[in-house]
């Protein structure tokens, strides 16, 4: 049993509140070194806060025990489709914690944070190069945040041209689940576009939808089936032909580094998931970073501030960069693009995440990045070749960085994708994404990433083979799985019907 190794007793850890004892504390604070001031009037003051009281060792053991109940990349294989759970290099963590970066305040004068701004500027430039874009904003905090940013940019561009009537966003049924929600947040209307038999956007349906009401198309490419859009050129031409814009969901960019630049392919705007493609950790659900790249026409609409490079000689930059001594001296400034949609968060972006992504890109370089995508795609196609006789693959094509199989076993009608997923836990693997994309029944969406070895992929394939056999001989084993995790299957219906959302005492 891998998931709870190291935990001496059954997997259940008390709540921190249950470990509390009045009078304990796990931190020391300096003594007050100034005279006390009068506190605010009583009506503004509170009673004590109901927080746990623990000593430092109890605190450490509690969170250590909790950590041991988690699956993680550093524990084992994590083939979650569209999540790109690749290895998170440890040097990134050291880089982000350098005190010169970590201990800077966002409102310091720009000439005191030139190192930060240089890093952000260079990251903007590198993402432009990788994506084939004319402008990048590092502000958005996550993929969905980048999506909202991108759709707001598209809408702003149309409005700027006086095209108020462009209120429809076309979303293929193979797109990520956030796309429709993003569209409605932006006050626009979602129109779903079906896929054809080969998993591409249905070109004939798309043609019929292209008119002067189209704001744009949100396209995930490769899509959530792991397939590269075979008629991409035609799709882009149709959208541009009717005056719309093409948005790229960059969640699947791990397939395209050095393989193709989305900007070259015709995408007008795309978000990058730095926490997927560029190896920054997911943190159990964030923080991420969802930088947005755009074509030249859209750069004035980017959210800001973004970082701008100025030649000291040519600008009254106010820096101490010794312009009189050095012809080439440059400095970095924060600027708001001319027609910006505004800010999408406070300050400038998830800076410590940006440092990690920057470190990764600088260590890999152009050849290394291409190798990432090549091996990610090799791994996916290899794994598919190992399991295609066990579970039907959604589409018989060359896949990119991920693929989808149907989690069904002929001869075992009661066995579902969920059962297979849960049984994988007993074999020491994190399950794939399941029941997504919605267009494949009983979907298991598998993304191995490039950092996994052939041995790991082989072991995973063998586990799936064993589970397929168990489905035929002992399906109950699957229905009851997992058997070895810290807890058994959890009652999600009860959680939703009788919500207990905070600790309320013993």
């Amino acid at each position: 049993m891998k998931a709870n190794r190291g935990v001496p007793c059954a997997g259940v850890e008390p709540l921190i509140y249950e470990l509390s004892k009045p009078g304990r504390m796990a931190t020391t604070l300096p003594a007050l070194d100034v005279p006390q001031a009068e506190l605010p009037p009583a009506e503004l003051i509170r009673d004590e806060v109901d927080l746990p009281e623990v000593d430092e060792l109890t605190l450490v053991r509690h969170y250590m025990h909790l950590s041991q109940l988690n699956w993680a990349i550093d524990v084992g294989f994590y083939p979650l489709g569209s999540c790109t759970m690749k290895y998170n290099p440890k040097v990134n963590e050291a880089a982000a914690r350098l005190p010169g970066f970590a201990l800077t305040h966002p409102y310091q004068e720009v000439h005191t944070v030139q190192g930060n701004l240089r890093l952000m500027y260079e990251l903007q430039e590198m993402l432009k190069e990788i994506g084939g874009f004319a402008g990048v904003s590092l502000q958005p905090s996550a993929g969905a945040h980048g999506e909202l940013t991108g759709v707001l940019i598209m809408r702003a561009w149309h409005l700027d041209r006086g095209e108020r009537q462009r209120t429809r966003i076309l979303v293929p049924d193979s797109a990520h689940g956030t796309n429709p929600a993003t569209t409605s947040m932006a006050g626009l209307e979602v129109v779903e576009v079906p896929s054809d038999k080969r998993g591409n956007v249905d070109l004939e349906v798309l043609r019929g939808l292209c008119n002067e009401t189209v704001c744009g198309l949100m396209l995930t490419n490769p899509n959530t089936l792991g397939l590269f859009e075979e008629q991409l050129t035609e799709v882009v031409a149709l959208i541009h032909g009717c005056g719309g814009l093409v948005y790229g969901d960059g969640a699947n960019l791990n397939a395209l580094l050095g393989i193709a630049k989305p900007g070259d392919l015709g995408f007008d705007v795309m978000h990058f998931n730095l926490h997927k493609t560029f190896s920054t950790p997911h943190g159990g659900g964030g923080p991420g970073a969802g930088a947005v790249g755009v074509s030249a026409a859209l750069t004035p609409f980017l959210p800001g501030p973004i970082v701008e490079l100025r030649r000291c000689r040519e600008s009254d930059c106010g820096c101490d960069c010794a312009a009189e001594l050095d012809e080439e001296a440059v400095c970095f400034h924060l600027t708001m693009p001319e027609k910006s949609i505004g800010r999408v968060k406070a300050f400038y972006g998830n800076f410590a995440v940006l440092v990690r992504a920057y470190t990764y890109i600088r260590m890999l370089g152009a050849a290394g990045l291409r190798q990432v995508s090549e091996m990610a795609v090799l791994n996916a196609n290899y794994l598919k070749s190992r399991i295609r006789d066990l579970f039907p693959v959604s589409h018989d094509r060359t896949h990119m960085h991920e693929f989808v199989v149907k989690g069904i076993v002929p001869g075992a009608p009661g066995v579902h994708a969920l059962d297979i997923a849960k049984r994988l836990i007993d074999y020491g693997f994190h399950p794939p994404t399941n029941y997504f994309p919605l267009i494949v029944p009983e979907a298991l969406m598998i993304e191995p990433t490039e950092t996994e070895s052939k041995e790991v992929l082989d072991a995973f394939a063998e586990a799936l083979r064993a589970i397929r056999d168990e489905a035929l001989t002992d399906p109950e084993l699957l229905h009851q799985a997992p058997h070895t995790a810290p807890v058994r299957r959890l009652d999600e219906v009860r959680a939703a019907r009788q919500p207990i959302l905070r600790w309320q005492g013993a």
């Binding site: 007050l32 005279p35 550093d74 943190g283 159990g284 800076f351 152009a366 994190h430 959302l501």
Partner: protein, 452 residues
């Protein structure tokens, strides 16, 4: 170096299993004209080289470890106990994904449940979610939730002019497509609550106030909720968690939604991110709240366990009917905040809040005694206060840095044009008395040198 384990032999075997000759053959669906572009990027570096380069780059900055810093304005320098980063560095936490498989994600799930409980305790509210991107976006999402509770019929949003200027900007960006009437904060600055109350009408979805407000002042919001509820609108209170160690929680005075920036606990300055937005509301409104939520349940053997719950509110189920698209949030930052809160406990948080309060008041008192400086003191404040200076803030700050090695306060003229020469100063527990004395002396000198 791509962190890739494949040997030449591995590749050959894998290609043979797939049935293609070369890796390049896997990319035939990519349009040939765009295939395999040149990426013009810097040459790759070894780990040793990149760290050296980054270290040099980071040293181009002046950091608050070497230069005492009196900036706050929504990002606060507090001491984060070592135990926080030690536990966050457990890679079972930081290299996990969103807890989609609860059986092997109980660590993340339980830690979020505990975080939710602590946010409820801090704010005096009944329900808290797993976090938003930051204080600004949690404020914007609160506005959208209020619109949704008003079933989209109420279109007026009242923003206090003393709400953080960047939060107000983000509310405007998020609601660009919603055709709202956003009032209260423009054009003139009237920080009087009565002025905001006078804007309430039956079309109002919500009124948003911040306490301590952007100027550091503690707002007395007693009775405000009744006025807001009288027109059927919601009261959204934006607040700061360290101050809640001392100040009355917004749940006590009837807030419907409480949000804010959680960075001050457990999370470093990091040049503005990643931070976390906390978000709390009333139980009756929970189904309108965006964001992830962890609930307690039992497993097949009756043991307590935790799951993501009420997911029918969320984007992946409701799709275009969802009011928010948020999925990834700031889970690790929320974990940091929870660990710091647990380390402090009820006594420690109160002590921390009082340390900040007393030090800020000492500094304010000393500055008020200086010739040429005036401290706003018409309302009680927490750990930030406004100083009217005898010269432009930029000039004074330059002097403080160059002559004294101090990072001065925030220039309020950036956001409030009529507040020229007004500086917002913040003092937390990390500032020692001799640094306050240095600031006071430096300001006095600056008056003579800069204002002259």
């Amino acid at each position: 170096m791509s962190y890739i384990p494949h040997t030449e032999a591995d590749r050959a075997e894998m290609l043979a299993a797939i049935g293609v000759a070369r890796v390049e053959d896997l990319f035939h669906d990519v349009p040939a004209a765009c295939r395999f572009p040149t990426l013009n990027l810097p040459e790759p570096l070894s780990e040793m080289e990149i760290l050296a380069e980054l270290e040099a780059m980071s040293e181009e900055n002046l950091d608050v470890g070497h230069y005492p810093c009196f900036l706050g304005a929504g990002a606060y320098h507090h001491y984060v106990p070592r135990v926080v980063d030690h536990l966050l560095s457990r890679s079972e936490f930081y290299t996990a994904y969103t807890p989609y498989q609860p059986e092997i994600s109980q660590g993340t799930l339980q830690s979020i449940f505990e975080y939710q409980s602590m946010i409820c305790a801090l704010t005096g509210m009944e329900v808290a979610n797993a976090s938003h991107y930051d204080g600004a976006t949690s404020t914007a999402e609160a506005v959208i939730m209020a619109l949704s509770v008003g079933r989209g019929k109420r279109r007026r949003v009242i923003l206090s002019p003393t709400l953080h200027p960047e939060y107000r900007a983000v509310v405007r960006t998020y609601t660009r497509g919603m055709e709202l009437e956003i009032v209260g904060d423009e054009p003139a600055l009237n920080t009087d609550l009565e002025a905001l109350i006078s804007l309430l009408d039956p079309n109002t979805a919500c009124l948003i106030v911040q306490t301590p407000n952007f100027f550091g002042q503690i707002e007395d919001l007693t009775g405000l909720a009744d006025r807001v509820h009288a027109v059927g609108a919601m009261l959204i209170v934006v607040t700061e968690p360290v101050s809640l160690g001392l100040l009355r929680p917004p749940g006590d005075y009837g807030a419907d939604i409480v949000v804010g920036e959680g960075q001050g606990l457990g999370n470093g300055l990091n040049f503005g991110g990643p931070y976390l937005g906390f978000f709390a509301c009333r139980e009756k409104d929970v189904r309108k709240m965006a964001g992830r939520l962890v609930g307690q349940t039992v497993d097949a053997e009756g043991r307590r366990g935790f799951v993501l719950t009420l997911s029918t509110r969320e984007q992946h189920i409701r799709r275009e009917k969802a009011t928010s698209n948020i999925c990834t949030n700031e889970a690790l930052c929320a974990l940091a905040m929870a660990i710091h809160l647990a380390a402090l406990g009820k006594t420690g948080l109160r002590t921390l809040a009082e340390l900040c309060y007393h030090k800020a008041h000492y500094a304010a008192g000393r500055i008020a005694s200086l010739e040429g400086y005036r401290v706003w003191n018409d309302r009680p404040f927490f750990h930030e206060f406004v100083v009217h200076c005898p010269a432009p803030v930029v000039a004074i700050n330059d002097y403080l840095l160059e002559e004294w090695g101090l990072i001065g306060g925030y220039d309020l003229e950036r956001d409030y044009p009529h507040l020229a020469n007004h500086m917002l100063l913040c003092v937390t527990e990390v500032i020692r008395r001799q640094e306050i004395e240095a600031l006071v002396e430096a300001l006095d000198e600056a008056r003579k040198e800069v204002a002259a």
